[in-house]
Amino acid sequence: MISRKSGQFKRLTYAFKVFRRKPTSMAGLIIVVFFTLMALIGPFFFPLDIRAYPAKRYLPPSWQHPLGTDPYGRDVLMQIINGSRDALLIAALTGLVTIFIATVIGVSSGILGGLFDEVLMRITEIFLILPQYPLLLLIAAILPAGRELTLFEVSLIIGIVQWPGTARAIRSQVLAIRERPFIEAARCLNLGSLHIIFREIIPNLTPYLVMNFFLALTGGIYSQVILFSLGILRFTSINWGVMINIAMGESALINPKAWIYLFSPIVCIVLLQTGLVLISSALEEVFNPRLRTEE
């Protein structure tokens, strides 16, 4: 047991070493940690206040309002900080939903094989062929039936639309692991399929799942930006996509006073996505040493 713990610790320090070796990976890690901290502790210092202050409409940046104010006189920095909570929460829940569905389908399909595999993969293929974002919009438009969705429901919808690609990738990974000698050894020892799945295959799959989780996070951000910035979902709270939607409704592009308001959430989305992409490519290098070609 001790050896297993220290093995995990070794893996973590090893992962950190790979991150440190490349400045871009480190930058990605710093960006994502920064936004996570912003989402976790930021709202305590800048509590959300969505009342309108008509006298303070479009104030330029000042000490009191570092990023100015929006068309309703609300502080932009406060909105950015509180919006990061929704953005990251939806992304994280989406990632979990996607990985959960994809793992259940990918693993069971890869292990059981035969007709079961055939049927599941055809279903996956059908979902892959269907146009992803129009389907997302269709479900998001009709399912709420006029009420506001909770964050978890939003994540669930996005996850339902984006699992198929991941499921397929996980299945092919399971097929590769299944052929490795230690699985054969476990079979010969007659350890039972539950043991093989949860003790042999899943632990070996974990790094791959973590990497796909980060990819699913970028997908979650992408989809929520579509849903909120186009105003598809009714949402009374503030998040980055909603900010873009409001800014566009106020034709912010042709109003120089509104540029800071429009571009603040946009810059945040660009930074966060960059950070997530950098992390997932760094993780890919951790788990797949063949990609580290430079050394």
């Binding site: 129009p134 389907l135 009709i142 006029g146 429009l262 997530l276």
Partner: protein, 329 residues
């Protein structure tokens, strides 16, 4: 041959699923759009029969019939090309789609071809120069842009190129406000091209990255093949090796993706069309949602599904023709 039959059957099943999902969302779930529409007319003071007859005009089935009959009617309507009637735009859905499709196909097909060609050229170039600074910059750019929602870049482009520099028209939409669209003259064409430039640029810059990455990895794997080494050993000219030996084989898997993208093209570029107020399918889908015009929403979704399914089928057929190995699997 069996392989092709299997793919065709799968396509038909997928289309069937698309129609079923649509019908399910449209009619079966509680609080579905058809009930909402009936309630809407009831709230306006119409009698139940009047409300029903108004909704009947908009959907190709009778809302009071048993569910399975409604489903069959819906299926029949879709097969006949009767997708219902849009009440906000007061037109049959098919006519709206007929107006929207040319705009979408015009802008997206140009973008697709440009980004594909640029992508395979740059991807192959950086595969040869892998490890260089240029490779690092382009690969970084490519992996970042695949994660960026397209309107994000669009905002920067409109702001910098149209508003600050004034190179492109500031007003959004498919053509200028003073152009008469009923006259197909030079003025109209130049206006359309000028207004299409920024949406196309946005599309190319955001979608090029995935082509670059695909072409890069494909080229790298082909470069490791023995026939490339053999060609080099025979002393063939570099140019010939690059084009006929490496290029043609590396681009092969990308053609499938290209055919799939051709299908996705009809779905339009959702975010770009909404940002630039370009009257394509993606724009009408969003209009339908914000106006609660559900026949329009389902119509746009169905036409997109048909196109993507056909694109996928085309990709499979194309691939089996281009690469005979696949047929013997």
């Amino acid at each position: 041959m069996r392989w092709i039959v299997r793919k065709t059957v799968l396509s038909v099943i997928t289309l069937f699923c698309a129609v079923t999902i649509t019908f399910f969302l449209y009619r079966v779930i509680p609080g579905n759009p058809v009930d909402l529409m009936i309630n809407y007319y009831l709230s306006l003071g119409y009698s139940y029969e009047e409300a029903l007859s108004r909704v009947l005009m908009m959907v190709p089935f009778v809302p009071t019939a048993p569910l399975h009959e409604q489903y069959v009617d819906f299926l029949k309507g879709v097969l006949r090309g009767d997708l219902g009637y849009s009440f906000t735009l007061a037109q049959p859905i098919t006519r709206i789609l007929g107006y929207a499709i040319p705009w979408t196909v015009f802008s997206v097909s140009i973008s697709l071809v440009i980004s594909f060609l640029l992508g395979i050229m740059m991807g192959m170039y950086i595969a040869y120069k892998r490890g260089s600074l240029l490779d690092k910059i382009i690969s970084f750019y490519s992996s970042i842009t695949t994660a960026m929602p397209q309107n994000i870049l669009g905002f920067f482009l409109i702001w910098s190129l149209a508003i600050q520099l004034g190179w492109f028209p500031k007003e959004l939409g498919p053509y200028g406000p003073r152009v008469d669209p009923s006259k197909f003259n030079l003025e109209f064409i130049t206006s359309v091209l000028r207004h299409a430039a920024l949406p196309i640029l946005t599309y190319v810059l955001t979608s090029m990255g995935s082509w670059i990455l695909m072409m890069k990895s494909s080229t790298i794997s082909v470069l490791g093949e023995y026939y490339v080494t053999a060609a080099e050993a025979r002393g063939l000219k570099d140019r010939r090796i690059v084009t006929t030996y490496v290029g043609r084989n590396a681009v092969l898997p990308l053609f499938t993706r290209f055919a799939i993208s051709l299908g996705f093209m009809f779905g339009g570029a959702l975010l770009i069309e909404n940002l630039f107020l370009y009257p394509g399918i993606g724009r009408y889908l969003t209009i339908g949602i914000s106006m609660r015009d559900y026949p329009l929403v389902t119509g746009c979704f169905l036409i997109t599904s048909v196109a993507t399914v056909l694109g996928n089928l085309l990709a499979d057929l194309l691939y089996s023709r281009l690469d005979p190995r696949i047929r013997f699997e």
